[in-house]
Symmetry: none
Subunit: 138 residues, 2 copies
């Protein structure tokens, strides 16, 4: 799946916040435990909090790690299918595709069904998304 590139700040910040909260809770619990805690334990917890803080800020600043490409062109779309997919990706309806290529609506549907099967998807929007991820569409 293609990862969203939008929440560049929110997700890491929230995640770090959750972690910080957990650390606080753990800290609290430790304070009330009957186990004798040395000051090293508290130092450890506090340091963990700081680490999470820095980590969260760092993750928030630079994420966007490149995903591994799912380039598996084991789905050889036929030339005609590429035509249809291309047109569809630019917003054309089935009717419009049929008109521009001078074929019937049925043919367009058949091509699309085959495209969906080859790409392993169920909708045209998925086909577009997948095809772009597979680099077979610009």
């Amino acid at each position: 799946m293609t990862k969203s590139t939008k929440p560049k700040w929110l997700l890491p910040v929230l995640g770090y916040g959750a972690l910080a909260g957990l650390v606080l809770i753990c800290f609290m619990v430790l304070r009330y435990s009957t186990v004798a805690l040395s000051w090293e334990a508290e130092l450890y917890a506090g340091t963990a909090g700081l680490i999470f803080l820095v980590l969260g800020l760092w993750l928030g600043y630079r994420r966007q790690r490149p995903n591994r490409k799912p380039s598996a062109p084991k789905d050889p779309l036929s030339p005609r299918e590429m035509d249809i997919l291309e047109a569809v990706s630019q917003g054309a309806s089935n009717r419009e595709v049929a008109d521009t290529f001078h074929i019937s609506l049925s043919t367009v549907k058949t091509h699309l069904s085959n495209i969906y099967a080859k790409l392993g998807v169920k909708r045209r929007t998925q086909a577009i998304s997948t095809a772009k991820a597979l680099k077979i569409l610009s």
Copy 2:
């Protein structure tokens, strides 16, 4: 329509992160101070962590991301509309969008209709194509 919703939420979110970190630091410092700390102090700090945790989750649940990208020429899509458009561009059906955002199918359709109107298109595939051309979608 002309009034642009300023990122009044982004700042608090980032601020909350900083506050959580400060609480952690204060907690640590207090533990080392010679001042006798009552258990209420620790309870207070722990509660603060919990509050921040809940606050962060709540903020993340709604108001995912206020759009502050300057590359939007016109057509100010609302934050929610950007959410829907983003999901749709990745192949989600209306039903799936409704489920992932915990809203009704009607709401999704309403949002999409408004998106189409703002982008001057008639179909979701056109909306995706146009939005990418306008750089409001990656």
